[in-house]
């Protein structure tokens, strides 16, 4: 297994963990962290899989940079919403009853 | 765009444009609203007259627009369509006059007359549709435009009636659409043509065509109130009297009956329909409806409900006439399309007069009404006698042709159906007449709204329309062979539909 493929494999596991976390966790901060883990996993796959033969490829690297910035923006937004929810309700969870 | 293309559109526009304008008018602008209403009705009548003259001279009027590739919105004004157009245009004028009188001072009149005009526009579209697609567009438009009229009073009861109406018609519409799309898929078009278009498919498709026919008949049968699809009609009588007139005589049930005529004659072709064994089942349903409607009418004390069941029965006369394979039955059915409209509109006008003037809603309250309101009661009597089929009324003419048609087609059972129905008609109408004319006047009317002044027993706008339509009922009965009578026109249509048969006119 090349280094690139190893990165990609780890990325896949991180992605799955992250998705499960976003779906299952209650606490908003944990969900936001899980989203970041999910994102990191994706970036690892993007960089690792493309460079599995050991040749450096600047295109996925640039894509990951873009993706990181987007993830930062999304994280900031999520944090702002979570904080706002905390200010308004004193809770850092989404209640289940208003889902239906 | 040539004149012959423009004229059908102008007929549509003559009620559409006034209708849309009326929606925008403030409630208090009575004068302008009335002007728009009446000028629209008169212009339409003039345009229809132009069409009649043209069609008799052999001109053809038509226009079409592509809606989607391979799908056209197409109009034509042919002899059959004109029969319906003329009926609706004439009755629209009188119904409008009547409605103006009926709703004087009532709230929400702009909305009422707006939708009223839309209804007539939809009816014109149904009459002039040149393919099933166009027919369906206006058929559903009619449903939508009548709903606000049925629920016009805004009470819980009227809303319930409106919802029942919608439930029936929308489900019927969905079934109809299925049939139409299926047919369109098989044929690639649904254009109406003399002697039909379905026969071109070849015998491999006979099974599918039979199913499609069933779907189409359920679809239009709802509006034509064929048993067991008639449940909405007695419910919808909660609407104001002019709307009932519109539902029962001018637009809705007629649209259903007209749809059956179009589908049998110009989609399937009467001869092809006969060869697929489609006519007999339809005739049986019509017969059941005729008897069942008359039978139910017997037990209704509410005057408008009794009239509603009478409509259920009478509209199926038209259907029965069509299914009697042969030109004579056809003439009987078509002419009844017009005659039933004239008679039933008269009866509903009169029922509205009784209710508006004296507060009479029930048959049991009608004692002596003839002496208080003689003119209305004369009109009512003419309408009722016509329904029974007493000679010298329009009803007698239709019945004679229907019975002859039945015997010419060798369907003697249909004659019995017609006689039974006439007998039942007499049983539920004659007691009303007897009460009206021969029972003493009660001490007080249920609720007297309008006080008689001299010969004017009620508001003149309420009185005039039933008298005119009653007179027309008599005229159609007394001079059936006049050149402009409905009968002559029905004969002209029958001649064009039975292309393979030499026609011998007996009666």
């Amino acid at each position: 297994m090349t280094a690139g493929l190893l990165f990609a494999s780890v990325g896949v596991i991180l992605f799955a963990l992250g998705v499960a976390g976003v779906l299952l966790l209650e606490h908003l901060l944990r969900r936001i962290l899980a989203f970041n883990i999910m994102g990191s996993g994706t970036f690892l796959v993007l960089v690792g899989l493309a460079q599995r033969n050991g040749i450096a490829d600047p295109v996925p690297q640039a894509m990951v940079l873009t993706g990181i910035v987007v993830a930062v923006a999304a994280t900031a937004l999520a944090l702002a919403l979570a904080r706002r929810l905390y200010v308004l309700t004193g809770k850092l969870e989404l209640s289940q009853d208003d889902e239906a | 765009m040539t004149f012959n293309e423009l004229l059908p559109l102008a007929v549509l526009a003559s009620s559409l444009i006034p209708g849309l304008l009326i929606f925008t008018l403030p409630e208090s602008w009575v004068g302008l609203r009335t002007t728009l209403n009446l000028s629209g009705a008169l212009v339409k009548l003039a345009l229809v007259l132009l069409l009649i003259v043209g069609v008799q001279a052999g001109e053809s009027y038509g226009v079409h627009f592509a809606v989607l590739p391979g799908l056209n919105l197409a109009f034509k004004a042919d002899a059959l369509g004109l029969l319906f157009i003329t009926l609706s245009a004439v009755l629209w004028l009188f119904t409008t006059l009547y409605a103006i009188g009926y709703l004087e001072g009532a709230p929400r009149r702009s909305r009422f007359f707006g939708f009223f005009s839309l209804c007539v526009t939809a009816t014109m579209g149904i009459a002039m549709a040149a393919n099933l697609f166009t027919f369906f567009v206006f058929y559903e438009l009619l449903t939508l435009a009548t709903f606000p009229l049925v629920v016009h009073r805004g009470t819980e009861a009227s809303i319930r009636g409106g919802m029942t109406y919608l439930t029936y018609t929308l489900i019927g519409g969905a079934v109809l659409l299925t049939g139409i799309v299926w047919l369109h898929h098989l044929l690639g078009h649904t254009d109406f043509a003399h002697a039909g278009i379905a026969a071109a498919l070849g015998s491999a498709y006979d099974g599918q065509l039979q199913i499609i026919f069933l779907l189409l008949m359920i679809g239009v049968g709802v509006k034509a109130a064929i048993v067991p699809l008639h449940g909405w009609l007695p419910q919808a009588m909660v609407a104001p009297a002019p709307v009932s007139a519109l539902l029962h005589a001018v637009a809705v049930v007629k649209a259903g009956a007209f749809g059956i005529v179009r589908i049998v004659y110009e989609v399937y072709g009467i001869e092809f329909a006969q060869s697929l064994d489609l006519l007999l089942p339809l005739a049986i349903f019509a017969a059941v409806t005729i008897v069942w409607g008359s039978f139910r009418a017997l037990f209704q004390d509410d005057l408008k409900k009794r009239l509603a069941y009478s409509t259920v029965s009478q509209v199926s006369y038209i259907v029965l006439g069509i299914t009697l394979f042969g030109p004579i039955g056809t003439v009987g059915g078509l002419v009844h399309l017009v005659h039933q409209g004239l008679m039933k509109v008269t009866l509903f006008f009169c029922a509205g007069n009784y209710a508006e003037t004296l507060g009479i809603h029930k048959v049991s309250e009608m004692n002596g009404a003839g002496r208080r309101m003689p003119l209305t009661s004369i009109a009512f009597t003419i309408g009722a006698l016509g329904m029974i089929g007493v000679p010298l009324t329009a009803g007698a003419v239709s019945k004679a042709w229907l019975i002859d048609g039945a015997s010419a087609a060798g369907m003697d059972w249909a004659i019995w159906v017609l006689w039974t129905s006439s007998l039942l008609n007499a049983v539920y109408f004659l007691p009303i007449l007897w009460r009206t004319w021969f029972k003493p006047i009660p001490k007080a009317w249920p609720a007297e709204h309008i006080v008689a002044r001299g010969w004017r027993e009620t508001a003149w706008l309420l009185l005039l329309p039933p008298m005119v339509t009653a007179a027309m009922t008599l005229a159609a009965g007394m001079f059936p062979n006049n050149q402009i009578s409905p009968l002559s026109w029905a004969k002209l249509i029958a001649e064009r539909e039975y292309v393979h048969e030499s026609i011998i006119w007996t009666p």
Binding site: A62, V72, A73, L77, A80 | -
Partner: protein
């Protein structure tokens, strides 16, 4: 039930993907070769910067838009009125003077590093993002040392600073579109234009990233 389904799905995904990623044939398109071949025409020497600001510069334009958007959303959901003065506890006493002095010393250094990173971006790892991030870090440091207050609602000049970098980028894009294609730089000006964009972005990105923090740390006045 839900838990079981999600875990099961995640495990399936891992197994499927790991299985499928093995012995994959080499990619049929080799973009790194294309990047190398066109590097001289891109106006910069570093391949990642070339991809970010030239070959796929359009991605970057939209990405800055996303970042600016996030800032605007944070402004939009927050309260506009000033915080309740009484509710804030004076925490200045809690911050050690050592930290404050260090922060004061570090800030000029960090600004210098930012400029170096910006300049270095054209031929080695670096560029506007890294530079902006360092600038933002300086602001956060100052804020934590209580030398820079949190933001309430940005004034006109600050808004210009926040959106300026993006607008310069957009203007270059619009200008190039009128000349030919979106973000197609003329060969001889490519380097200069990219530097212009990067400089503008450094300032704006620094401000935006700092803003994300400083806006979030503002007092909503409703916490008990």
């Amino acid at each position: 039930m839900k838990r079981l389904l999600v875990v099961l799905g995640a495990v399936c995904l891992i197994v499927l993907l790991l299985g499928a990623m093995h012995d994959l044939a080499p990619a049929s398109v080799e973009l790194h070769a294309a990047v190398a071949a066109n590097l001289t025409a891109s106006g910069v020497e570093h391949p990642v910067t070339a991809v970010l600001l030239n070959f796929r510069g359009y991605d970057t334009l939209l990405e800055i838009a996303v970042l600016l958007l996030a800032l605007i959303v944070i402004l939009a959901i927050g309260r506009e009125e000033a915080s309740n003065a009484e509710a804030t506890v004076d925490v200045r006493l809690l911050v050690s003077p050592v930290l404050q002095t260090l922060a004061k010393l570090a800030t000029p250094l960090m600004i210098m590093v930012a400029f170096y990173l910006l300049w270095a971006g054209s031929f080695r790892p670096g560029g506007a993002f890294q530079a902006g991030a360092v600038l933002a870090a300086a602001a956060v440091l100052l804020h934590l040392a209580e030398l820079l207050p949190s933001w309430q609602s940005p004034g006109a000049r600050l808004r210009l600073g926040l959106a300026g970098g993006f607008l310069i980028f957009l203007a270059v894009g619009a200008g190039s579109l009128m000349q030919g294609a979106l973000l197609e730089y003329p060969l001889e000006q490519a380097g200069a234009l990219i530097l212009l964009i990067e400089s503008g972005l450094t300032i704006s990105l620094g401000l935006i990233l700092a803003g994300l923090f400083l806006l979030l740390s503002r007092d909503d006045g409703e916490t008990s």
